[in-house]
């Protein structure tokens, strides 16, 4: 048991480090979703192109598709070294390369793949994923956006138009994406999971309108996307007609296959919390960090964050040995999201009345904890709610029964709907 690289890993790390030293941009701020400007997007695109040219974009992918022809552990090592250099410019490409393009690669014909894969790897095109809907959050398959075949549009090759109407929501990056993959209902007479179809779509198509969502934290990272008589060709279909649910599983499996860098800082935010507690005085003029309750809380945060960090290392070990990581990583987001919210609440409470101040000029630690307080509720919802994650652990890891599904044998159009 150790934390050392294998000789091959060490060699690769040294190579990556040298390349990054030479090539990585210094002091360039990445694009934070919804708040990005053009120069930040340009910096992201330039860095992605540079990585692709050197074989460091999509390291795990075959070289013929613009990848690096490497291993999963190599891609982890690169990500670790990139983050060690403080380079965080991959955000705009994460969904495309992590979810959309793998779906295209698994389902599209060679011509389509050739058209899309390379440019996406090089950062020339950005993709978004259009699955969630106002009435389909945790129940992703409850999609109401309709695609109807336009019989009058059939051309000499048998291709024809689908006309899409409806609304998608929580679409990260839709406002700057060039393309998207969209899941729509093509057969409302079939049961919920059976009447869906997946298409790739040009986000500049007439009839698509993006509107950003104003979150409680003030951030605007997500979008609502409205479809009004948007036309896609049947040749843009990914997978078989009415088989979109199975195609979406490919997409989501790829999301899950992306393993983190075994990362996070030592102790999460606990060390910072301790420093803050040392500076605030209690009723007797002593540092709050001397208070037993405060100490216990900080210890609990530290241990929980470390537990996550070491769990990541266990998964990395499996990757390093060429094995599939166990299910342990499934707890990561569930634990992390609540932990951050708890830490924010605890740190705001420590500040007493001053805890309400969000003005960075006057707040403790530039209002980091106030921002965290307002930002963390979303963490427990986005990418799988706490409740869905617990269901997944209970069902897939522990083998407990699935939820009762009253919508199983009913045509989609006959399902009761609420808000």
């Amino acid at each position: 048991m150790d934390f050392n690289d294998t000789p091959e890993e060490a060699e690769y790390r040294a190579k990556v480090r040298a390349w990054l030293e030479e090539n990585a941009p210094r002091g360039v701020k990445g694009a934070s979703l919804g708040d990005e400007d053009e120069s930040q997007m340009d910096a992201c695109k330039a860095w992605q192109a540079k990585k692709a040219a050197a074989g460091y974009a999509q390291i795990r992918w075959p070289k013929e598709w613009g990848g690096g022809g490497g291993t999963t552990i190599q891609s982890v090592i690169f990500a670790q070294e990139e983050s060690r250099m403080g380079v965080q410019l991959g955000g705009p490409f994460a969904i495309g390369l992590g979810m959309c393009i793998p779906t295209v690669m698994a389902t599209a014909d060679d011509e389509t793949k050739k058209r899309f894969v390379g440019p996406a790897v090089r950062g020339e095109t950005i993709w978004c994923q259009l699955f969630s809907e106002p009435a389909g959050g945790s129940d992703v398959a409850a999609i109401r956006t309709r695609a109807i075949k336009d019989e009058s549009s059939v051309d000499e090759n048998g291709d024809f138009d689908w006309v899409i109407n409806g609304q998608k929501i929580w679409t990260s990056g839709a406002h700057y994406a060039d393309y998207g993959i969209v899941l729509v209902r093509t057969d409302p007479d079939a049961v919920k999971h059976k009447g869906l179809t997946m298409f790739w779509i040009d986000m500049k198509s007439p009839g698509i309108e993006c509107k950003n969502i104003h979150q409680m934290s003030g951030a605007r990272g997500f979008n609502e996307v409205f479809f009004t008589d948007v036309r896609v060709k049947d040749s843009q279909r990914l997978g078989a007609l009415n088989d979109g649910w199975n195609v979406s599983i490919i997409t989501l499996m790829n999301e899950r296959a992306s393993v983190g860098g075994g990362g996070g800082a030592r102790g999460g935010g606990a060390l910072k919390a301790l420093q803050v507690a040392q500076k605030i005085r209690d009723e007797n003029g002593d540092p709050l960090s001397n208070n037993t309750t405060v100490r216990e809380k900080i210890a609990e945060h530290y241990v929980r964050a470390e537990g996550l960090r070491f769990t990541g290392m266990r998964s990395l070990t499996a990757l390093s040995q060429g094995k599939t990581p166990g299910p342990e990583q499934s707890v990561s987001k569930l634990v992390q999201a609540s932990a951050m919210q708890d830490l924010a609440d605890f740190m705001v409470d420590l500040q007493d009345q001053a805890g309400i101040i969000r003005d960075p000029a006057h707040a403790v630690e530039n209002a980091d904890f106030q921002e965290m307080f307002l930002g963390t509720p979303g963490g427990r919802i986005a990418g799988g709610t706490d409740e869905i994650l617990r269901n997944i652990i209970a069902e897939r890891v522990l083998g407990l029964p699935g939820e009762i599904r009253v919508d199983k044998n009913i045509p989609f159009k006959d399902l009761p709907t609420g808000r």
Binding site: F3, S289, I404
Partner: protein, 371 residues
Amino acid sequence: MNFDFSDEQLALKDEARKFLAAKCPPDRVRKLMDEDSPGFDPELWAQVAEQGWLGAAIPEEHGGLGLGYLELCCIAEELGRAVAPVPFASTVYFFAEALLRAGTAEQKAKYLPQVVTGEIIGTIASAEQAGPVSAANINAEVSGGKLNGVKMPVTDGVVAHHAVVLAKEGGKPTLYIVDLNGPGVSREAVNTIDRSREAARVEFKDAPVERLGEVGDGLALFEAINDRAAVLISFEQVGGADMCLEMAKNYALDRFAFGRQIGGYQAIKHRLADMYAKNVLARGNAYYGAWALNSDAPELPIAAAGARISASDAYWFAARENVQVHGGMGFTWEVDCHLHYRRSRQLGLVAGSARSWKHRLVTMLERRNAA
């Protein structure tokens, strides 16, 4: 990155699991708890010794297998899973570790070979009263080579042959080895919350002692030994916590209410998912402790605290929620839930409370922040 046990170590763990499933089934533990003088299974102890487990991490020159601490962690996990009623922790994690850390060559030669064979049951006697072990809380006094005072609770103190005792000499905390069958020692069993591990009140009246380490080093040595024991005990806790989750899951699948398996209700599913999450975190922290222990890393005290806090939390949560999932059966004598409910608390206290470990961890983090 190689943050896992080797295939050989995992094979040893697997063997230990099979061995304990055969030799130490839960009904045997429960039966032992029914007896007038509960807390020790001599037959199992002899079998454990025969397996060589007592000497897994003791060097070959002292009769041990000299394998290492990672192997000992594997065994510990399985002992915890089985709620084994043997003085393994007292003898191996505390007594033998104290000798290995602080003993002279002579002392090691005198005691360790018999620890390996199971002939010497050892323990540690540190606490005297409610509250953490500290200089202020030690009244036992050595003067002229004779010990006077009372230690309580001394886990496995009824069956142990020797104890490492924390006492003061001229006001300075120091460790000593005492022959519990020797003159000046009287002991009586005290009833505890975990009847699968006994404990004693031990009174010393001019009992002769053998010093272990230097005068005045007692507390530092005690902490170093406690760190090592805490890592090993965290594996017992992880083993117990996983067993609780397994029991709760199996019961939730077998038990029907309102026309279906209770494991289909989210109130149960989510509780079990939370148990799983805590168990995963505890295992990660315990592995870090194992690495630090095995490589004698300077991070050991912090790693031990992380393992201790995380594993104590996970086992207690799993044990208590396992009772809850079992409903009315959960708090009966005949169902095994209470074995873990008791043991989780016993293990959570025997090397010091969560409260005191959290305090200690933050003290270490403060030092690191300052450095």
